[in-house]
Amino acid sequence: MITLAGTVWGSPRTSHLYAIFKGQYVYFGETSHVPPVRWKSHLTSKNDFLGKLYEFDIEEASSPSPIFFIGIHIPCADLEPEPRQKIARRAIEAELHKRFELNPNCMAPARQVLSSAPPSPVKHTFSFNKKEIADYVYKMIAEEYQSWLSSHAK
């Protein structure tokens, strides 16, 4: 049966956060482009998502269970001066990792994060509240993922 395998859209060279789920594992990251540009290496490079999963849990990595990708555009990071955009994305990414450690339950069945949280840039201030943005992004990811899980289970 022919089924939709997901759609992706976005403006090139804009700030995004993303999450990748497979089984019990999740990976969070950031990019300055539309996420699929980054996702390719996550499926091919031994240093990224699938590579890390092979090291951690070869059974899950080899299993045919689906991989779920989600990207979130964060315009607040684009509004920062260009030299600060990457740091801004990293700040939100660090908060996203913290959200997961504080409350992993809404990402169930994912319990284990494969990505390493970047160090939080504590000396820098931004035009946005990184905690509020991360909270919002985290909820969006959780809702989309749970919604997909429910429809996929059918």
Partner: protein, 566 residues
């Protein structure tokens, strides 16, 4: 197969000895008895420590009797007998401080060999009930001795229980237990009870009063325990790296942690609150802080002992300043509050004494990651405090200006030539006009508009300012008289993350400024003197250069955040 049930003997004496050695220190044993009073809804609790005649606070084993009196709901005779039972009936109210119903016996027997209880409930005074380990050992049986009060005893207990309800717990036979000197016990109780019961001592709806005294043959006055929030949450500020004030506690985390237990199980959230304090040395006379700020810092009593995890169970502190194997001994300006409830007892293996618990490795790992950022900020605060104490000048660029006073800025290609060509002079004139604008934007009002006088600051060769193109780390200028000066961009991530953190007169900072300045001299001389190439072409090249330079340093910065904290 035939199965038969066989009763197992209980060796009462041995069991009592084991209960007495569960692991209380005298102050924690007394606190367990105070917990019972709080559980009984008491709001007035008195602790009296009676010394043996001829002994002082400094002598070991010098306590004759411990007495705890409360005005709680009291107990009937039957209820007192039940209270002596090993293991409670488990019907505690939610958020009770009690757990297994062992506190009275285990705490009491760790303090002395005899526990006596007299109680009053709804105006009715009970008998005196005594649990005496010597009698238990004699008969190898658990029992208490209950006797009617003598007239003297009645008079005494009536005077101690003035309300309609309350309980008196007395523990004597203390000389038979090997204990630290009571001065340590009293000091710890006085220092710690205000923190341990802070919530109860400040609860407006039911404020608890706790008093303590030591009697050496006298009827000493009580000292009331004052509450203390060890995190000083009512005085905190929210972290902003640009406005750190060196004297306030900073709230770094206030979150609900919902640990994942696997198999779909959940427990109620654990509130995590993290506050970082300034270094205690900022309270010392040599600190540059104002007197009022020094007093503020002093009250926090920042020290290794008063740092780490402060673990509360049902709002009562059970662990003081624990590192949990996460914090290092150098992290003594951080305090982390964990608020547990009885829901967490099993998951965290809270023991009978309610003093100890264990977090498994997986949960510990999560906790560690949650605390990454607050710990980094706390370390940054320590570093800022250290630099404030050791930073002699506070004027960025001043040291470099001083060191470069006699260093020439000549273009080596031009040194052998005579008068520069007209094109070069025109370019230098244009540079001087640009320089005037930059000077006006970066010179303080105190310096503007006057000739240099003795004692006035020298012409600043390195200027830290936000009046720089945001993509550039620095922009060079040539003043018609003073020569090259350079404006360093204070909004660039490289400055914020690294340069700013180096003390302004440190060798590392001066050397970095030298590298920047040397590049600035090279750029100015090239633009000004390379007249064989169109000036706009040269400027285009350098603009491209600065763009690459600034982008590379921004990327390096984002990949190496907190490098200087490592």
């Amino acid at each position: 197969m035939i199965e038969i049930k066989q009763d197992i003997a209980i060796h009462a004496a041995r069991l009592c000895q084991a209960i007495a050695r569960i692991g209380y220190e005298p102050q924690t044993a007394l606190l367990d008895i105070v917990d019972n009073a709080v559980t009984a809804s008491a709001n007035d609790i008195s602790i009296s420590i009676y010394l043996t005649p001829g002994k002082t606070l400094k002598n070991r084993n010098s306590v004759k009797c411990y007495q705890v009196i409360d005005n709680g709901c009291g107990m009937t005779d039957n209820e007192i007998v039940d209270a002596f039972a090993l293991g409670a009936n488990g019907n505690y109210r939610p958020h009770s401080l009690s757990k297994y119903g062992m506190g009275l016996k285990s705490a009491g027997l760790s303090l002395g060999s005899r526990i006596s209880i007299v109680s009053k409930k709804n105006g009715v005074l009970s008998k005196k009930h005594i649990f005496d380990i010597a009698l238990v050992e004699q008969e190898n049986k658990f029992f208490i001795v209950s006797s009617e009060l003598t007239p003297d005893q009645r008079e005494k207990y009536v005077s101690l229980l003035l309300g309609s309800s309350g309980t008196i717990v007395e523990i004597d036979g203390c000389e038979k237990i090997n204990h630290q000197s009571p001065s340590t016990t009293v000091r710890k109780l006085e220092e710690e009870m205000g923190v341990i019961y802070e919530k109860f001592l400040t609860d407006l709806s039911n404020r608890v009063k706790i008093k303590i005294r030591v009697c050496a043959g006298d009827d000493a006055a009580f000292k009331e325990i004052t509450p203390l929030d060890i995190l000083f949450l009512n005085k905190h500020k929210v972290w902003d790296p640009e406005t750190y004030d060196f004297s306030s506690p900073y709230l770094l985390l206030d979150e609900q942690w919902e640990p994942d237990l696997a198999d779909g199980k959940t427990i109620s959230p654990i509130r995590l609150t993290v506050v970082a304090f300034p270094q205690d040395t900022l309270a010392k006379p040599q600190s540059p802080l104002a007197v009022v700020d020094k007093e503020k810092v002093k009250q926090y009593e920042v020290s290794r002992r008063n740092s780490g995890f402060f673990i509360y169970r049902n709002e009562r502190l059970i662990r003081w300043g624990d590192s949990l194997g996460i914090l290092s001994k150098d992290e003594f300006n951080i305090r982390i509050r964990m608020d547990l409830s009885e829901d967490h007892d099993d998951v965290l293996h809270v023991d009978v004494t309610k003093q100890r618990f264990e977090i498994d490795d997986e949960l510990l790992g999560r906790l560690k990651r949650i605390l990454d950022e607050p710990r980094t900020i706390a370390k940054l605060i320590m570093k800022k405090c250290y630099e404030l104490l050791h930073m002699p000048s506070g004027h960025e660029g001043e040291k470099f200006t001083d060191l470069s006073a006699n260093v020439a800025e000549d273009d080596p290609e031009e040194m052998a030539r005579g008068t520069p060509p007209e094109e070069v002079l025109e370019r230098q004139h244009a540079q001087a006009i640009e320089a005037d604008q930059a000077k006006a934007a970066t010179t303080s009002t105190e310096d503007q508009g006057g000739m240099a006088k003795l004692g006035e600051p020298a012409f600043a060769k390195i200027r830290y300012t936000s009046h720089v193109d945001y993509q550039s780390v620095w922009t060079p200028y040539r003043d018609a008289k003073e020569g090259v000066f350079v404006c360093v961009n204070t909004t660039h991530p490289f400055y914020i993350e690294f340069l700013k953190e180096l003390a302004d007169n440190s060798p590392a900072r001066v050397l970095l400024e030298t590298l920047i300045f040397a590049a600035a001299v090279a750029e100015i001389n090239t633009i000004g003197n390379l007249h064989t190439i169109e000036v706009e072409t040269i400027k285009t090249v350098f603009n491209r250069f600065h763009r690459n330079y600034g982008t590379y340093l921004a990327n390096f910065t984002s990949e190496n955040i907190n490098l200087l904290q490592e």
